[in-house]
Amino acid sequence: MKKLYFIMAMLIVASMILTACGGAASEADCAKPEVFCVGLVTDVGKVNDKSFNQSAWEGVQKSQADGVADVVQFIETADAKDYAKNIATFGDAGYDVIVTVGFNLGEATFAAGAAYPNVKFIGVDQFQAWQFSEDTADDSANVTGLGFPEDNAGFLVGALAAMMSETHKLGAVCGTDVVPPVWRFGEGYKAGAAYADGMNGTTTEVFVVYHSDVGFDKTFTDPEWGAQTAKSMMDQGADAIFGCGGLTGNGAITAAAQAGKYAIGVDADQYLTLPEAAPRMLSSAMKLITPGVAELAAAAKDGSIVPGNFLGTAGYAPFHDLDGEVSAEIKAEMEKINAGLLDGSIKTGVSPVKP
């Protein structure tokens, strides 16, 4: 029996060590004022998620390459209950800037802002509601939310997909509509398709499906569900699939690419990050996260950062391999729509949160 307990103990210890491996502590001393440290806490998921966490981490790495940050480090969140703990790890280590990625970390980031008044917080995709409330008691002095006009990004690819579709049926497979940015992507996509319809006199049907039937921890990390949902839409005639929502969306994009339909990515230029789908990647609805994070990190260093909401920009990715399939008229039209969205002459008509 003794031998048995030993084997069991070894197995459990081994599995715990393997589970714990990942983020290693930084060597340099971030508590010193001359060392400028930027830490990043991911949402549940990995820093290599080929989407959201990855773009933000690239922004942090860019700030290091630009000479803004001396030390950069990330912590991957394994469970939603660890948000505060992971932020505190950086706070206690004396980091100067802490980047937290994703809407879900909003509350934890806001609370950490009060707990670590000397640290500047950059909350990617975190709407700072306090800025709009009458009550000044809950104002934050050091949390800046980096937001994006997701509806614009969705609008761009929606218009593109509607112009490219032959069946005039489009699909979108998204995370959960409980997260306002994800909902704005979906609604923007519909609005963009409707705009293109108005221009060309077509009637396009848009299927938008959210993975809202599971918890927050799973809604963005279920590629198999995404693939099945995309397949179901293609069975019903959709010939362009927009995957918006982390790994779930990636599954949908890959399935669309395998079936030879148009695949549309989200957040980053997924042509570069999703090789399996690259040949059929039409474009991506881009939140320009990387420059936004780098810009805010630089502003934090020179002290010009302003707490509250900071609006980054949206865009659409190049057509890459499918460049030949997109006609010159459509390209020109896309340029016009993008310019119109930037100068405000085209409005998506999407409200900030789901009514």
């Binding site: 084997i7 599971v214 090789p275």
Partner: protein, 369 residues
């Protein structure tokens, strides 16, 4: 598994489908909706069916296996890794790499099951704890190796995931070609085309259906099956008549592991050609529910897995037809309500309303001579 419960399952599936058809028929032809939903149902049910078969073999032989989730995850990882290694390092072509990946996945499932067998049969560890160890080990092992091999600074693949050799192709079963000449009417031809669309599935999905019937035959019509059930019901009696209880249990747990391995291959070799940490997302546990729902029989477990698949197909389609849902049905837009269906059903079944659920008598009890 009695006919009453089969009838109950059939009614549930028909109800789920009819709701969608009655709402969606203004947008799409009913036949298209039904075939699309059936195709989704079968595909979604594939890993659940295989996982449940894994549980059936293991538990029929008297070993509780809650490590199916971990076995699936590990096999999904090693199958995918094997395919990539074969493709990039050994330079095999796509097809051979994918098939080798599939074999790797099945072997991995078998090895994980061997670990479970050693723990629970030889060392007589509490089988729930043994299964939990497998699940934790799988998460740690795959997450760790995924990071070390692909994303570390000096990692083997240099910091990025190389393109995978792809996924298994769709098998075209020539139903139309065979039966079309017999057809005389247009309606018959349409029907055959529709059936063909439903069964345009990939190899693992098709083999899962075949394996259900093969497993049923093996368990209930062969000497091996009789012995398996004997060591799960009354191992002492089986031992008395000369059956090697330990050997039978080892063999069945490992066979079960190989089923879980095939389920793992479904994720990374058949569905999506990439591995993501935790990608099985609890489907191993849902397949355990399907196994119990199906009263530890292969066909029953399959039927239960189809209920889970059908409710997911309904979920997807309710959202596709969201804007034509009549106001009195508006609650169906809330996807979590529909998503609850299979879990509520499982609870109903366990309360014994629809027939009795009986596990093998010696399930979870280590055999001591």
């Amino acid at each position: 598994m009695n006919s009453r419960r089969f009838g109950f399952i059939a009614i549930i599936i028909i109800v789920l489908f009819s709701v969608v058809v009655s709402i969606g028929k203004v947008k799409q032809p009913p036949l298209l909706i039904v075939t699309s939903m059936l195709a989704t149902t079968i595909a979604v049910a594939t890993p659940l069916t295989l996982g449940a078969l894994s549980g059936v073999f293991s538990e029929r032989a008297g070993v509780v296996n809650i490590g199916i989730e971990g076995m699936m995850l590990t096999s999904a990882f090693f199958g995918w890794l094997g395919a990539i290694y074969m493709y990039h390092v050994f330079g095999f072509n796509n097809g051979i790499s994918i098939v080798l990946g599939l074999i790797f996945a099945i072997i991995t499932g078998g090895l994980m099951a061997l670990l479970h067998a050693v723990l629970s049969i030889t060392f007589k560890v509490d089988q729930i704890i043994g299964g939990t160890v497998i699940n934790i080990l799988a998460i740690g092992l795959t997450g760790f190796l995924n990071r070390q091999l692909f994303f570390g600074k000096n990692s083997f693949f240099g910091g990025s995931v190389p393109s995978s050799p792809g996924v298994l192709p769709t098998l075209h079963i020539p139903i139309t070609e065979i039966f079309a000449p017999i057809c005389s009417s247009e309606a018959c031809l349409q029907g055959i085309n529709a059936i063909n669309r439903v069964f345009d599935q990939k190899p693992v999905a098709i083999s899962a259906i075949l394996l259900v019937f093969i497993s049923h035959y093996i368990l209930f019509n062969t000497r091996w099956g009789l012995r398996t059930r004997a060591v799960g019901e009354h191992p002492k009696a089986a031992d008395t008549v000369g059956i090697n209880v330990i050997k039978m249990r080892y063999a069945n747990v490992i066979i079960g592991g190989m089923f879980a391995g095939l389920a793992g291959a479904y994720f990374t070799i058949e569905s999506v050609p990439s591995f993501e940490p935790l990608l099985t997302n609890g489907r191993g546990f849902i397949s355990l529910a399907a196994m119990i729902f199906g009263n530890w029989t292969p066909i029953g477990a399959w039927a239960a897995a189809l209920v889970f698949g059908a409710s997911q197909a309904m979920l997807i389609n309710m959202q596709i037809f969201r804007d034509v849902i009549p106001p009195q049905w508006a609650f169906l837009q809330e996807s979590y309500i529909v998503g609850l269906t299979p879990y509520i059903l499982t609870m109903f079944i366990l309360t014994g309303i629809i027939g009795k659920t009986t596990p093998p008598a010696a399930d979870g009890v280590p055999y001591e001579k």
